[in-house]
């Protein structure tokens, strides 16, 4: 009898200890939006890589041209721009050879636009997966940014090919020191695209109207960015307004570095950095908040 008693006591004690033991997962209604679970994202890094791989290899599967499509799209767009904006509208390219001017703008703009529009679709497009399995939701937008970057790198070789040609042909004077900040520029573009995309992806789960806004909003926004015209060709008031577009300084700095034309605005780049930080932070926080309950509203 005594034996049993002490055994029972032991078990009760043990159970109690187990109660105090660390739980590895605790799911609660409200966890802080500040919890970014970076550790968890790191644990899922293989998934991120596989998503990137999926995005890259499945885009042009069963097409005749395959990966060549990565080049066809910017080349054709450049041709159209040369014809419409350069030819018919007669907008100056600020002394830069037209193909180089439009191509650089298009490639960079496309990266931003892809990051933005594709991430803004995250919740709606992936609701099937999200409804069936859990992984840190941020993995998907991050994978979009990374696969966009790979696409950018591929298209950049096209730019380099043109660049080398014109370098010897018309003697471009690059500012090599400005080229060094290319990683910073890319970081800003990715951050802005991702940040805006996250904000809109969170909002579209509730208010679908925004989806339509995004489609033409991005198109319109391009005209508020010096893509088809150089900063040097516009008036003072317009310049002042464009200053507040964080993308302006990124595009201009890129052209200044590689082609030697364009306005390198140090203050502007700092401003862009600050805006990127704010947009990205609020995007992540909003996304974090939405991912916990979007399955109920989507």
């Amino acid at each position: 009898m005594d034996m049993d008693m002490s055994k029972n006591m032991e078990r009760v004690m043990k159970d109690k200890q187990e109660g105090l033991e660390e739980w590895s997962t605790i799911i609660k209604p409200k966890t802080s939006v500040w919890n970014l679970y970076i550790k968890e994202i790191w644990a899922y890094r293989d998934l991120l890589i596989l998503f990137v791989k999926r995005d890259i290899i499945t885009v042009y599967k069963q097409t005749v041209l395959g990966p060549i499509w990565f080049f066809v799209q910017p080349i054709l767009t450049t041709l159209v721009y040369i014809f419409v904006f350069g030819g018919i509208a007669g907008i100056s390219t600020g002394g830069i050879p037209k193909p180089l001017f439009y191509l650089s703008g298009i490639i960079l703009w496309n990266y931003f636009a892809d990051c933005f529009t594709l991430t803004s679709d995250t919740f709606i497009k992936n609701q099937n997966i999200f409804g069936k399995v859990y992984f840190p939701r941020l993995i998907l937008p991050l994978s979009i940014v990374v696969s966009g970057l790979i696409k950018l790198a591929i298209q950049f070789t096209l730019f380099i090919a043109f660049y080398v040609y014109y370098y010897f042909q018309s003697g471009i004077a690059p500012n090599y020191s400005a080229i060094l900040i290319l990683p910073y520029l890319l970081l800003l573009m990715a951050g802005l695209g991702l940040g805006f995309g996250l904000i809109f992806s969170s909002l579209t789960t509730k208010y679908r109207d925004l989806k339509f806004l995004i489609v033409f909003g991005v198109q319109l926004f391009m005209y508020a960015t010096p893509i088809i015209y150089p900063m040097s060709s516009i008036g003072v008031t317009a310049k002042e307004i464009l200053f507040y577009n964080p993308l302006t300084h990124i595009i201009e700095a890129f052209k200044y570095g590689f082609i030697g034309e364009g306005e390198f605005n140090g203050l502007g780049l700092v401003y862009s950095g600050v805006v990127t930080f704010i947009v990205l932070t609020s995007g992540i926080l909003l996304f974090n908040r939405t991912e916990k309950s979007f399955m109920d509203t989507v």
Binding site: K28, L47, L50, M295
Partner: protein
């Protein structure tokens, strides 16, 4: 005793009904305003259960309400319940797909959920690529998948088609591939929703065998939802029956299934308290189970008046105090007493333990219509009522075969009983 690996406490989930979008902003503002003043959420209705047959008073409905249970290491729990009982919501909360409204889920170790087979598989990619992608989505690292790759291929039986795009696969092959990946997951807790419903019988058996293997060998805890009672029975050791968003029963798998089958037909003629903490009763006697059964012992809630039925009452005498009389009270649909009965002196229990009392009703004792039965255990001296469940059983009496009737009438006959009297008609 193995340790608790999953603990669910006061878990509730509230959903909004109807079209989300119209008036959402006003609701949001309304709520925000209440929150700002520190008032209770004006849109949450307290204490309403999720009954889809009744119209809800509020725009919100509790899909889950105050769920509490624990799972121990190596336990395989089968979750059963009707459609809309909250099973899927429960699984979604545990697998972090959506977050709870109140309460908490605590777990030790990795949780992997298999709510669908082959989630995220891309038809354009090859089987090899998809195994890696699907495995990673389920939470495996690349090296883990690499280690098990050959086994996965073998289990799925797609060895010849490793480098074929999955879109060329038959649906059965896709399912096998998806399940094979999941089967080699090594989480401490595995959540499985009716994924086995797809695939052929042979594969289902293989899959169940694999799941069982894994849980008994490596102590994996499994939470399994299915409508297929036979697979639940082969796979699970314990069961959880849900209805209207609450746990209505928890116990070993056999009694859970029995309870569910009893209730799923909407029977009001069976109830088991055996595995519930709260039983009707006193410190001396508890009610464990009651049922209305036909001649074969099947639980029924409707029968023909020319059939024999019985009421069985199972009770637990914990302490013998005087003479114990189980008794039944039959009422007609107007709640008029139809009869009261108890057991004779020689059947009265003389020791503690679990007893079953059977009350058999002869044919023709009831007329057509609804009746109810109350069940009680009373002890004497003192006329102490240990419990009195009234009405416990509700049943309906019919008369399908009119040819068995005596006399020419084919309409409804009045009266509370159709007892056939002994007749004798002689010529004098």
């Amino acid at each position: 005793m193995s340790k608790v690996v999953l603990k669910i406490e006061n878990l509730s989930k509230r959903y909004r009904l109807g079209e989300v979008g119209s008036g959402t902003i006003s609701h949001d503002l309304n709520r925000f305003w209440a929150k700002l003043r520190g008032k209770e959420d004006p849109l949450s209705q307290v204490g309403q259960v999720n009954d889809r047959t009744a119209e809800s008073i509020s725009d919100y409905v509790w899909a889950l309400k105050d769920i509490n249970f624990e799972l121990r290491e190596g336990e395989i729990l089968g979750v059963i319940g009707k459609n809309g009982a909250g099973k899927s919501t429960l699984l979604k909360l545990i697998s972090k797909i959506t977050s709870p409204t109140t309460g908490s889920i605590k777990a030790k170790g990795r949780i992997a959920s298999l709510l669908e087979v082959g989630t995220g598989m891309h038809p354009e990619m090859t089987a090899r690529e998809n195994i890696y992608l699907n495995g990673a989505i389920l939470g495996m690292t690349k090296s883990e998948i690499k280690k098990k790759f050959d086994e996965i291929i073998e289990f799925a039986g797609v060895g010849l088609y490793v480098d074929t795009p999955v879109k060329r696969f038959s649906s059965g092959m896709r399912v096998r591939l998806g399940f094979a990946v999941a089967a080699f997951l090594e989480p401490e807790i595995l959540i499985v929703d009716e994924v086995l419903a797809v695939g052929d019988i042979e594969f289902q058996k293989k899959a169940i065998g694999k799941m069982k293997d894994v849980s008994s060998n490596s102590g994996r805890t499994v939470l399994f939802v299915s409508h297929n009672m036979s697979s639940i029975k082969t796979l699970c050791d314990s069961g959880l029956v849900m209805s209207n968003g609450t746990v209505s029963f928890k116990g070993d798998i056999d009694s859970s299934i029995q309870y569910y089958l009893g209730n799923s037909k909407n029977l009001n003629s069976f109830k088991s308290y055996e595995n519930l903490d709260e039983k009707p009763g006193s410190k001396d006697v508890d009610l464990l189970e009651y049922k209305l059964i036909d001649k074969e012992g099947e639980v029924i809630d409707s029968f023909n008046l020319y059939e024999e039925v019985s009421v069985q009452m199972k009770f637990h005498i914990k302490k013998l105090n005087g003479k114990i009389y189980p008794n039944i009270h039959v009422l007609d649909k107007y709640e008029n007493y139809f009869l009261v009965d108890t057991i004779p002196e020689n059947e009265i229990p003389k020791e503690t333990g679990i007893f079953i009392s059977t009350f058999k009703f002869p044919k023709y004792i009831f007329n057509t219509g609804e009746y109810s039965i109350g069940l009680a255990v009373t002890s004497f001296p003192g006329s102490i009522v240990h419990f009195f469940e009234n009405p416990a059983i509700i049943f309906n009496v019919t008369e399908d075969d009119l040819s068995l009737r005596i006399g020419p009438s084919t309409g409804m006959l009045p009266g509370v009983t159709r007892m056939q009297l002994q007749t004798k008609t002689l010529k004098i």
